[in-house]
Amino acid sequence: MIKQLAKVLLIFCILGFQNIKAQATVSGTIKDGVTGMTLPGATILVKGTKIGASTDMDGKYNIQVQSDNAVLQFSFMGYESSEIAVKGKSVINISLNQSAESLTEVVVTALGIKRDAKSLGYSITEVKGDAVSQVKQTNAINGLQGKIAGVNITGNSTGAAGSSRVIIRGNTSLTGNNQPLYIIDGMPMGNDTNGSAGTYGGSDGGDGISSINPDEIASISVLKGGAAAALYGSRAANGVIMITTKSGKNQKGFGVEFSSSLLFDKVNSSMQDFQTEYGQGTLGVAPTTQAMAFDNPNSSWGAKLDGSDVVNWDGVVRPYSYVGNNLDKFYDTAATYINTISISNSNEKSNYRFSISDLSNADIVPNSGLNRKTFSLNLGSVLADKLTLSTNIKYIRENTQNRPRLSDSPGNANYSVAVLPANIDVTTMDPGANEDGSERATSTNIYATNPYWAAYNFKNEDQKNRIIGSASLKYDILDWLYVSARSGIDEYSINTTFIAPWGTAYQLLGSMYEQETKYSQIDSDIMIGVNRKISNNFSTNSLIGASNNTQVRETLTLSGSNFIVPDLQTVKNTENQSTGYQYSKQKMSSIYGSFEFDYKQFIYLTFTARNDWFSTLSAANKTTPNNDLYTSINTSIILNEAFKLPEWIDFAKLRAGYSELAGGAPDPYSLSLSYGIVGQGHLGQSLSGISNGTIPNANLVPYNVDEVEFGLDTRLFGGKLSLDLAYYAKKTTKDIVSVSASQASGYSSSIANLGEITNKGFEMLISGDLVRTQNFRWTPSFNFAYNIGKVVATNATNSDINLGQARTQNVQISHIVGQPYGVIYGTSYARTADGEIIYEIDSDGVPRAKDGGNKQLGQGVPPYSMGLTNSFSYKNFSASFLIDAKFGGQIYSGTNAGAVGRGQHKVTLEGREDGLVVNGIDDATGLPFTATVAPQNLATYWGRISGIAEEFVEDADYIKFRQISIGYDIPIKALNKTFLTSANVSLIGRNLFYINRSVDNIDPESAYSNGNAQGLEYYGLPSTRSYGVSLNVKF
């Protein structure tokens, strides 16, 4: 595959760059007829030829004409076209007027097919690359946060190299993957998550989409609904995000572009507002011996901080006073440099763009960071008359140093820092190692790792090498008939090294593993298309095609425990070694067709069909089919063409679509029972057994997603205001779920197509071009989305499905029939009918809240999300800021539960001197009581409260000042004496502050994994704010 690509590239290089000698040059500037602003990117075409050019950043153009009789056609999206005869002129300046009604806006739809926006009977959102490159994120997709209605992006608190969760129009599968299909330049891209943290810890291994350099992205199309994504068949259940990378196509002549951004991340320590009045100790007394400090390292139930001399965990006597915020002391200010340089060129026959990018990040956890280098080449060429080739290839090399450990405490520096009492300075724990090379333990709790040991002695690094490439050929057989073929590959390998070193307190002899993960996806398709008028009133734009997709995954693991020579960190140097190997390969073939008809260009009807054949559903002697047919139909009616509408309505389109798609084809090899080798034999005998813990189901099929959608798209008041509304209702049936079996059957479960979910939602986008003068422009945009997911069926008995449990063991994320997707379910207070809390009074007088059993305490997925972007430009200045918000979801805060139990939370301050007054209902009598919890019993009282999950499930609502950029275009005049053609410098900021936040001490966006169990928080990386500067120059 790679070889083939290389050959194609070579041929291209030989053919490319043949300039046609021109006879005369015409130049000029194209401006807006009203505002006089220049129009960059407008098109100039010599009529009747293929010779064309486009305007540069300043609206200027140059074009060669071969005869004086030539006529130039000027056009720009959203403007009325104009034609002017050259007649010997060498300068033609022209003003274009905005078109009163909608114009042909071309959008990229499924399979890369460009279509007239008004013909689409579904919602599609296209954003330009600067949406993600203006303020660059290490994971570019996070740049879309809050920008697209119905696209819910959650960046996790897992570090620079972490993953994101992207959900479009709600979760469609109970336990399967819910993230969209990513298509990059027509090529499906792997987005596997390489490991994430769970109840008992772990790290976020990053995902596939994070490899893409934000500077490379020209545009992103989001196919939200089934009708839009239908041509992707069984892969489209969760929507599709199509990324088009930059090419040299719009470049005029040779150009160089350099962009640089520097972003600092600083821990937002003010968010964590713990008490600073009482210090380490127990029963209201500070430690009197080192042993006491060592035994109760995280207990903030000591005395009032008074500056007296108190012994610490290390035996050193220090003042008993607040030492300042340990988050600021432990975490570094992270710095991320992203530098991209690109060269590009284009002429009538060919274009190219080549770029090199380097991303260097030193993350907030000391000794951790990320480096990503991207090499990207994009070539386009007219090979012969009517035959065009475009190819692109990217090589991405990513080194991650020490992915931080999250959630549970072992090896997790975030935990160890967050739990320290107010008088303990984390820097006293530095260095993390003793002289003999073992961990410098800070307490008797071996599972709470010295944070410096976790940061500097643990190793968790990986290197990812990735190639994404594709080539496509298009042949225009006739004016109205084309054939195109495309083939591409996404291939990567990840080498991971994890070391818990010799001397680690909870694992004295240490352990390690080396893992190599390989992935490849090869995708090819071919299609022929027709685009012609059938009669005066009818025309069609249709295609049929076929495609083939192969994916291979391979994992090799070498692991060992108990280092023999303490400081020799190689698997060979361990006592117990083992190997693991996994391999899977799957193929899918498809044929598809899309048939669009229009009547007088105001009623459009599109019908699509796709049939997928699955290797994962194929087995000898199988009686059920291994393929399935997926269809969709959609229509759009241009109301302003069909009816006479008031003048202020420039454009109005009604759209409706219905689709029957699918998702979640089973994993390979899951149809039949198989046997594998177990362990490494026993005393010379080999061992084997049944590999399946789940009873295979030969009749499994992908689940179905049926969706209906309606929408209205309008432009009003001469283009000043646009409104786009969408309503959808989708239903997942036959979702693949696990059916619990009695263990006496020998298996824990079987799998079957039994799950059912519905999602209903509403999306709105209002955008304005409200003020538009020569010097000033204000373009606000507001998007809003509401989605409510409901679990209709879970399995044959409709029992709950547990998606994930919090480390505190008293709360989990569950699917409960009749409830929203993924509710928070955990321990609660017992209450009277009036809602008063019932207590049992202990013999020592301490009230103990009665266990009310497990209850549904909230929902992990917020139903409301919105974003407001305001962009301004004044002369050479521009400014843009984004505020986004989510409402209606809840989060269980393990950090707050722990902080209450440890006496760290501010709520525990009350009654430290005189006792805490507690009111409630006495379980024994059923009558109200008032009890005073003595100061020495507060730890017991709050310790019990900390086990009641209900107390720590809080609203995750927030309004966040997400992003700001203030830019300045250095005037061309100032650049005249330099070789530069344009230059822009911007100040950027991200996640600067919350305008509103419901939950104390933690960031409401602090998930530790991008899996389906959302709504749990437990010692991830602390929240950060980012600020920096970016520079973009062209010459």
């Binding site: 057989i477 090819s524 071919i526 022929i528 049929i544 095609g545 076929a546 083939n548 006592e575 117990n576 083992s578 190997y581 391999y583 899977s584 390969k585 193929k587 073939s589 498809s590 044929i591 054949w613 699955f614 290797s615 994962t616 559903l617 194929s618 087995a619 291994n626 390979p668 090899y669 149809l671 039949s672 029972l673 198989s674 046997y675 594998g676 080798i677 177990v678 362990g679 490494q680 026993h682 005393l683 005998q685 080999s686 061992l687 084997s688 057994g689 049944i690 590999s691 009873i695 619990s740 079996a741 009695s742 263990q743 006496a744 059957s745 020998g746 298996y747 824990s748 079987s750 008995t797």
Partner: protein
């Protein structure tokens, strides 16, 4: 033009004729659709021996403490104080059905399909009996006839069979299997970790198991008990310590190789020898082999003190002034708690004690009760050397013991029962079952505040709680037949 279109259409069809080779592709190259039964059998035996999970919970935390071999102040050792931890109680269930039972049912089907020699099938059937006997003795009525066949029969919710029916079938299985076996080496060969395929030993093991099951029924069906005991003894039971059914473990490289009890001891420093057990072992050469003082590993007999059952650290302090349990004896970590220790399923000593009982009750096995008793004690002391040479007890020591604590015919059943209890230390499944049958030793229950059984020693462990959700109809039927799913309900053969 039309030709071009036609060609393209043809190309499309070729590209997508669509699922060629898909059936072959969807076969995992790292797995096999079938595998040699021998390696499956070896793995099934190791799974039967068990892993840390149920060895820790069912065997040690529950049964060893209820049987007062072990005592501890740690509150999570539920059996010491008769608490009810449902997850611990069901741990054998949780592991056995999805482990050895699933494996042996699969192996039996394969052996039949491949028309393997009948002796191989007979040995696998005996092995299956051993597994189910352990399960039914712990829980009573259990899924048996339909168990482990989730894939084979598609039955996700197997019914519970009556223990009386299970026993009848297990005995029939043993009888039929023993009849097939003769002498020589089975095709299983070295893949058989118990006897390296020695058919004669398997035959004696089958008959010894038959004797165990026969005596188990003494309270509910004395006639059947006698009949099966007679049949077993006539068929030929174990005759020496070289007939012992055990598996030798190794300390790695992976968990499956390790002795589950040993793994639990590696992870848990709380267990001590019970005062009841240490007191019984006074003047017994086994004491310094089985126990050592926690604080300094001393095996000097004078230093070996047993910890009373039913204490927490407050009660311990109140009763003895001790702040912790370091002064008490723990299972001797130098000899018997290794991850590479052997795991015993049935010993020759147990067989001799059963012969002694059969002689006492029915005059079977030659009728000499004392001879069988003495042979049992001797074997019980001798076999410990399988743990290693440090566990060697000399003939002189044994003789001295038998002289100091001679057999008293008047107390025959009690003496036999007590010795059986001492000989099955660490095989607590058997200890618990035999104690329920015989009532020996006469253990004094503890009565810790808030215990689950009203201060009586539990009579069974409880089913997996998941059964109430995933197999509710059969679970309800089982409770209707056997009684409530609690610790004090008696299983069929334990009915008074």
């Amino acid at each position: 033009m039309k030709k071009v279109i036609f060609k393209i259409m043809l190309l499309l069809l070729v590209l997508t004729s669509c699922d060629n080779g898909y059936e072959e592709l969807n076969v995992d190259p790292t797995k096999s659709s079938q595998i040699d039964a021998k390696s499956k059998f070896t793995a099934a035996q190791l799974r039967m021996s068990g892993e840390r999970y149920e060895a820790w919970r069912a065997n040690l935390i529950y049964q060893s403490t209820m049987m007062q071999h072990i005592a501890t102040t740690a509150s999570y050792w539920s059996g010491d104080k008769y608490f009810w931890n449902k997850d611990y109680a069901s741990s054998l269930w949780d592991r056995y059905y999805t482990g050895p039972i699933k494996a042996i049912e699969d192996i039996l089907v394969q052996l039949e399909e491949e028309e393997q020699p009948t002796e191989m099938i007979a040995i696998a059937r005996i092995q299956r009996v051993v597994m189910f006997q352990r399960l039914t003795d712990v829980y009573g009525d259990i899924p048996y006839s339909e168990a482990g066949k989730g894939y084979l029969d598609g039955n996700l919710t197997p019914k519970y069979d009556l223990q009386s029916d299970i026993y009848a079938d297990l005995l029939k299985e043993l009888e039929e299997s023993a009849a097939v076996l003769s002498t020589g080496t089975s095709e299983w060969g070295d893949a058989d970790l118990l006897f390296k395929g020695d058919q004669a030993k398997w035959k004696r093991y089958a008959n010894s198991m038959m004797l165990r099951l026969a005596l188990r029924m003494i309270k509910v069906d004395a006639a059947a008990s006698q009949a099966w005991a007679t049949k077993a003894i006539e068929g030929g039971v174990m005759t020496s310590n070289s007939d012992i059914a055990y598996i030798q473990h190794s300390a790695g490289p992976e968990g499956i190789n390790k002795n589950g009890n040993g793994e639990a001891f590696s992870a848990d420093s709380n267990p001590r020898l019970s005062k009841t057990f240490v007191d019984f072992l006074s003047d017994d050469p086994r004491l310094p082999i089985l126990g050592a003082r926690r604080s300094d590993k001393s095996t000097v007999v004078a230093n070996l003190k047993g910890l009373p059952n039913g204490l927490d650290s407050d009660l311990l302090k109140a009763a003895t002034g001790e702040l912790n349990t370091d002064a008490y004896a723990e299972p001797n970590r130098a000899i018997i708690t290794g991850e590479d220790a052997p795991m015993f399923f049935q010993t020759y000593a147990e067989v001799e004690f059963m012969l002694a009982e059969s002689a006492f009750r029915w005059g079977l096995a030659g009728g000499n009760v004392e001879a069988h008793y003495n042979a049992g004690v001797t074997a019980a002391m001798k076999y410990l050397s399988i743990y290693g040479t440090a566990a060697t007890i000399s003939d002189a020591q044994i003789q001295l013991y038998l002289t100091t604590k001679p057999f008293v015919a008047a107390n025959a059943l009690q003496m036999i029962g007590n010795q059986y209890w001492a000989a099955t230390f660490l095989n607590e499944y058997e200890t618990f079952a035999n104690w329920r049958r015989t009532g020996f030793p006469a253990l004094v229950p503890v009565n810790y505040p808030g215990n689950e059984t009203n201060g009586t020693i539990p009579r069974r462990l409880t089913y997996a709680t998941s059964e109430q959700v995933v197999n509710p109809i059969n679970y309800a039927a089982a409770i209707a037949a056997q009684g409530p799913d609690i610790l004090t309900t008696r299983v069929w053969w334990d009915k008074l």
